[in-house]
């Protein structure tokens, strides 16, 4: 098993918004297939920046520079076409953002529509049902599929967004504080969902909630001022962190 290429690997990844400063500094880490990896660290340490580098969101803004390598199944995504990368790397944002003009049904299928992929009616129905079931939303919305996605509650909207990302069958799912706008019950739903989902997809999740990291992740990263300070098993990190800064953060003395 040692020789298997990791699904995602950062090699000296750097991101800078301005010429003078780097928001992410020489991060190196290998992410294992079908795991949930939590990214933690105080506000402004570069978690979102690192995550957004993986689906080439930084390419939208010409001032932002990304250096080093990010390997997806061994190939450097920084030299790939963004649209190819983004089809294999899904993303769920902090604020639920269903497309406001589309129905729930169309939101789930929006990835296909946006990529010009045509499906038969039967395929569409099957995809919608399967994806909504896998985010445990089907029973709640199966009678209102033609309503706008924005009519749902925050937690439901976020699950809809996860369903939308899953419909494209990504290899990797990036999640930037997906539950920070949700109440504890909706959060619990989503956590259970993620534990279920890791059978199909590798998840990289930014979270401020240490309890959440403990509950769902098998690996954890701790970042500080743009550097990856510590990366390893979540168990070990919480019980016996190697770095003093990690310990300080986890015990609430920093952040």
């Amino acid at each position: 098993m040692e020789s298997v290429t990791p699904i995602l690997e950062f090699k000296n990844t750097c991101v800078s918004y301005t010429k003078q400063t780097m928001a992410v500094k020489y991060v190196s880490a290998a992410i294992e297939r079908n795991t949930i990896t939590a990214i933690m660290g105080p506000s402004g340490c570069g978690k979102s920046t690192l995550l957004r580098a993986v689906n080439l969101m930084h390419n939208l803004y010409p001032n932002i520079r990304v250096g080093g390598e990010i390997l997806l199944n061994g190939a450097d995504i920084l030299s790939m076409e963004p649209i190819d990368v983004r089809r294999r790397v899904g993303m769920v944002f902090q604020r639920p953002a269903p497309f406001p003009t589309m129905s729930i049904y169309d939101n789930v299928l929006s990835g296909f529509a946006l990529n010009g992929i045509r499906l038969s009616k039967a395929e569409k129905d099957a995809t919608v049902e399967h994806c909504l079931r896998s985010v445990a939303l089907w029973d709640e919305v199966k009678d209102v599929l033609n309503k706008k996605g924005t009519f749902l509650s925050g937690g439901q909207q976020q699950r809809l967004c996860i369903a939308r990302a899953l419909a494209m069958k990504p290899d990797v799912l990036l999640m930037d504080e997906p539950t920070s706008a949700l109440d504890p019950i909706a959060t619990k739903h989503i956590e259970e969902l993620l534990l279920e989902l890791q059978k199909e997809v590798t998840i990289l999740i930014v979270t401020h909630n240490m309890g959440q990291a403990k509950r769902i992740s098998s690996k954890s990263m701790f970042m500080y001022l743009g550097e990856l300070v510590e990366y390893g098993d979540t168990e070990t990190m919480f019980t016996n962190p190697t770095d003093e800064r990690t310990r300080a953060y986890l015990t609430g003395k920093m952040g």
Partner: protein, 287 residues
């Protein structure tokens, strides 16, 4: 309550009354115009006013001499206005939306900034100048006045309004919407077409309605391009009439002056309806 507080409350009241007074004063001209046009025009409105073309001066004279109301109406103007507006809309809406989308997406590029600036200039260009330019560009080469020339002038006047409203509406959409679309692997053209433009529909539609209501009353540019015609005409390569042109013609012909107010009332109500409609729709979409 001490004297100071009383004093402040009193000042507050004075301010409020002052504001109400001035707000009321600004409403006076509008109400006066509406009232005047309504009073003078309402009894001219009849079925035949909308279905028959302008009478000849001779017929009108005869009717006046016999003490009857003037026969005929403004159907030629209504049809001309609709034809020219229709052609202008068909070109100006897609071109304006595309241009606005380009400006919104590339606001940092030099070329886009120049185009944006030119749009402002075009918006401020007096309509009579647009008329004379269209005369040189279209009427002269085509060797004649026509509905086509009229619609070109209207189209040029509508473009900056549609471009601006598209650009502004797209710019205030949250960036997360576009990012969410791109994160699914779509190219930016598709995201624009399927996510951003639909989300901006309300604002763009309002802009189009405002553009229509702005050009529908334009007289000067049509004098150089459409010229006018007292017959009902459906062809687009011949001179054609329009409601504002008719108002000007009625004013200049002593026999037809009775028709001015009916035509004005029609135009005024049309524009007011468009304005109210656009306000209502804007509100509805913003919810």
């Amino acid at each position: 309550m001490n004297v100071k507080t009383k004093n402040r409350l009193f000042k507050d009241k004075v301010m409020l009354w002052g504001i109400c007074l001035f707000a009321g004063l600004t409403a006076v001209p509008l109400l006066a115009i509406l009232g005047e046009v309504l009073l003078r025009g309402y009894d001219q409105l009849s079925w035949s006013f909308f279905t028959e073309p302008t009478p000849t001066a001779y017929k009108a004279m005869k009717a006046i001499a016999a003490g009857e109301p003037i026969p005929g109406g403004i159907a030629n103007g209504i049809i001309g206005t609709l034809i020219m507006l229709g052609m202008a809309i068909v070109v100006a809406v897609p071109v304006g939306i595309l241009c606005g989308a380009y400006l919104a997406e590339n606001s940092k590029r030099r070329f886009a900034q120049v185009v944006s600036y030119l749009t402002d200039l075009l918006q401020g260009t007096p309509s009579v100048i647009i008329g004379i330019i269209t005369y040189i560009w279209v009427v002269v080469p085509m060797k004649g006045y026509s509905a086509i020339a009229g619609s070109v002038a209207l189209c040029i006047m509508m473009l900056p309004l549609i471009i601006r409203s598209t650009e502004e509406t797209l710019k205030i959409l949250p960036a997360s919407l576009k990012e969410a679309g791109l994160a699914l692997g779509a190219n930016s053209a598709r995201v624009m077409l399927k996510v951003q433009l639909p989300a901006a529909f309300g604002g763009i539609f309002t802009g189009v309605l405002l553009a229509i209501s702005r050009v529908i009353g334009e007289t000067a540019p049509l004098m150089f391009t459409a010229l006018g015609c007292s017959l009902i005409r459906w062809s687009i390569d011949k001179p054609i009439s329009a409601v504002p042109l008719l108002i000007w013609e009625f004013f200049n012909d002593p026999n037809l002056q009775d028709l001015i107010w009916g035509a004005s009332l029609f135009l005024l109500l049309f524009v007011l309806t468009l304005n109210v409609l656009s306000k209502y729709l804007a509100k509805k979409w913003n919810q």
